[in-house]
């Protein structure tokens, strides 16, 4: 698990999954379809990612295929970091 993923995982656990055992949130756990993130929570997550990694996400980045799992979030963050 890369640093980007670890940071995002901690944020999701603290913010949206209080009390959950960390091992239950895996890189492939569905974040949106499972009800962990609703649309408002997704926006909070986007704001967190933008601030934490100092990147700007465009409207088309904020889609379920990019934010649906920790794995896909990590891919998105790395892509954005490499474009900086």
């Amino acid at each position: 698990m890369g640093d980007e993923m670890r940071v995002v995982k901690e944020y999701i656990l603290e913010t949206f999954l209080q009390g959950e055992a960390p091992e239950n949130l895996t890189p492939t756990t569905e974040l949106i379809r499972s009800g962990i993130l609703d649309s408002l929570a997704t926006l909070d997550l986007v704001a967190f990612i933008e601030g934490k990694f100092d990147i700007e996400l465009e409207a088309h980045d904020v889609a379920a295929e990019n934010l649906g799992t920790l794995e896909s979030i990590e891919r998105l963050v790395r892509r954005k970091l490499s474009q900086r």
């Binding site: 999954l17 009390g19 959950e20 379809r33 009800g35 609703d38 926006l43 409207a59």
Partner: protein
């Protein structure tokens, strides 16, 4: 005067008068229809619905995402004299099926890709209404394609518009029910006309206005969004579910479509101010910003007004049972020392209000009491729930019927009502109305759950967070992720609890009732 005409007549007259003008537009699919096309297509839908057996007084379910077609469908149903019943296409299909079965719809109009799920859920209820599927397609109106195909298979003769009585139902809007079952609010043509008439008197819409339609069709906000523009020849910009929750694209659309009248919950406006990058767009066409459904915290409202200083802002209040019943115009400048949310305001004529104590007696101005509402905009009652009707209404000495809102208010010195809270277990979350009992009923069906109590606790910025407290069987404590998944399969997404807490047993009061107070106090 529009108010003297029935809803169907007002709409058809407007379609005739404005035939060449744009009636409805969907910025995502770039679908645009004129009033002439709206009239023609909704006429053909009426014919088809009548052909398959819809009669005045029936119900027709709309299981549709927001689209130009969903607006045509509303008109088509009303022209048959039936009531339309919009169900949330994003909620679990079992909830939609419950609603459609509850009010025994004759026909359901659904998006084709949603149909298989719905068919399965309806089969579980043992009901099989006729289904009109709108094919998957991105561009032109899909309803037309569905009607053409149906016409080729089995021609429907041309019929005439029904002319419903003011006491006939125009629509049934289902809201959260405390027993775990959604309850249908029956609203008549009289109620619709009364509300639309008030909107026209108060906001003086012109045919050059461009109205947003952001709220889902099963929300009472949609009554304003759909009918106020269409009876007046203005343009309705229908905002789909995905666009509606994406502040970046939403801000673009408000500018690109030159929207002049915006109506939504404060939550959405707050998201626009926070994440919409409003400074990058020209929103000078906006002249009116209406919000309803929940309290707008002052710091958030102030931030929005900094981005958008030019429109007039109104706080609209009212449960689905009355639609908007009070209104308050936000002052141009919010005093720097103001922290309390603005009042919900004064009654919308011709509705009348009064504040009563626990025994139904009047309370003095300045004292807290329950707000009662009377007048033509008030619902007829709930669908098939006579006991809830009996609790919802009280009669005064003159025999007048008053709807008990359950909202505790105080009338201030300027004769504005100020919202103080609820007298029951209903909460508002992001503008959604939630009976906590409905969430409890959903969670209670989990095999590991022995006891459940759901409470609302204070969240950031005057918001609420939903906390579910569970006592589980033995050591079989489910994971939080699994519980969220279980919830989202049974409840609308906005009812999924934010947090879960596990207890040995739920705390009880001395009379052996669940001690909700102590659960709330634990935060």
């Amino acid at each position: 005067m529009t108010r003297a005409l029935g809803l169907v007549e007002s709409l058809t007259q407007s379609c005739r008068r404005h035939a060449e003008r744009v009636a409805v537009r969907d910025p995502e699919t770039h679908t645009t229809i004129t009033y002439g096309e709206l009239a023609e297509t909704s006429d053909r839908l009426r014919d088809r619905l009548v052909h398959v057996g819809v009669r005045p007084g029936d119900r027709v379910g709309l299981h549709l995402r927001k689209s130009v077609d969903s607006i045509i469908a509303i008109l088509g149903v009303l022209k048959t004299g039936a009531a339309y019943v919009p169900v949330d296409p994003e909620a679990p299909a079992s909830r939609a099926a419950f609603i459609l079965d509850d009010c025994s719809v004759r026909v359901v109009i659904t998006d084709a890709d949603l149909a298989p799920r719905l068919d399965g859920a309806l089969a579980e209820f043992g009901v099989a209404p006729a289904i009109l599927r709108l094919p998957d397609a991105d561009t032109s109106t899909r309803i037309r394609a569905a009607l053409v195909a149906a016409q080729e298979a089995d021609a429907a003769p041309v019929t005439a518009d029904a002319s419903p009585d003011v006491d006939d139902l125009a629509y049934i809007l289902y809201t959260s029910g405390s027993t775990g079952r959604p309850k249908g609010v029956r609203l008549t043509h009289r109620a619709a006309a009364s509300f639309i008439g008030w909107c026209r008197d108060e906001f003086s819409p012109s045919r050059d206005d461009v109205f947003s339609s952001h709220a889902p069709l099963h929300f009472d906000l949609s009554i304003h969004d759909v009918f106020v523009p269409l009876v007046g020849g203005a343009r309705l910009v229908v905002i789909g579910e995905d666009l509606g929750r994406d502040p970046l694209r939403l801000a673009e659309a408000i500018a690109a479509e030159s929207i002049s009248v915006w109506y939504s919950t404060p939550s959405i406006l707050n998201l626009l101010a926070l994440y919409g990058r409003l400074d990058r767009h020209d929103h000078s066409a906006l002249r009116l910003v209406l919000f309803a459904g929940e309290v707008f915290p002052i710091p958030q409202l102030r931030r929005l007004k900094e981005h958008w200083p030019h429109p007039r802002y109104y706080n609209l209040y009212g449960p689905t049972e009355t639609n908007v019943c009070t209104y308050f115009e936000i002052p141009e400048t919010i005093p720097a020392d103001r922290t309390e949310p603005f009042p919900i305001g004064r009654m919308c004529p011709p509705l009348r209000g009064r504040v009563v104590d626990g025994e139904g007696g009047p309370v003095e101005r300045g004292r807290e009491g329950e707000l009662l509402v009377s007048g033509p905009g008030v619902m007829d009652g709930y669908w098939n729930l006579p006991e809830q009707d009996a609790r919802a209404f009280s009669r005064d000495a003159e025999g007048e019927r008053w709807y008990r809102t359950g909202d505790l208010v105080v009338e201030d010195e300027q004769s504005n009502y100020v919202f103080h809270g609820r007298r029951d277990r209903m909460v508002k979350r992001h503008g959604y109305r939630i009976e906590l009992g409905e969430i409890e009923a959903g969670l209670a069906s989990h095999p590991a759950v022995r006891e459940v109590a759901v409470v609302a606790v204070a969240g950031p910025d005057h918001g609420v967070r939903i906390k579910a407290c569970l006592a589980v069987e033995g050591d079989s404590r489910p994971s939080i992720i699994a519980l969220k998944q279980f919830s989202v399969e049974r409840l609308p997404r906005y009812m999924v609890p934010d947090t879960f807490e596990f207890l040995e047993a739920l705390p009880r009061t001395s009379t052996d009732k669940i001690d909700y107070q102590s659960l709330v106090a634990d935060g």
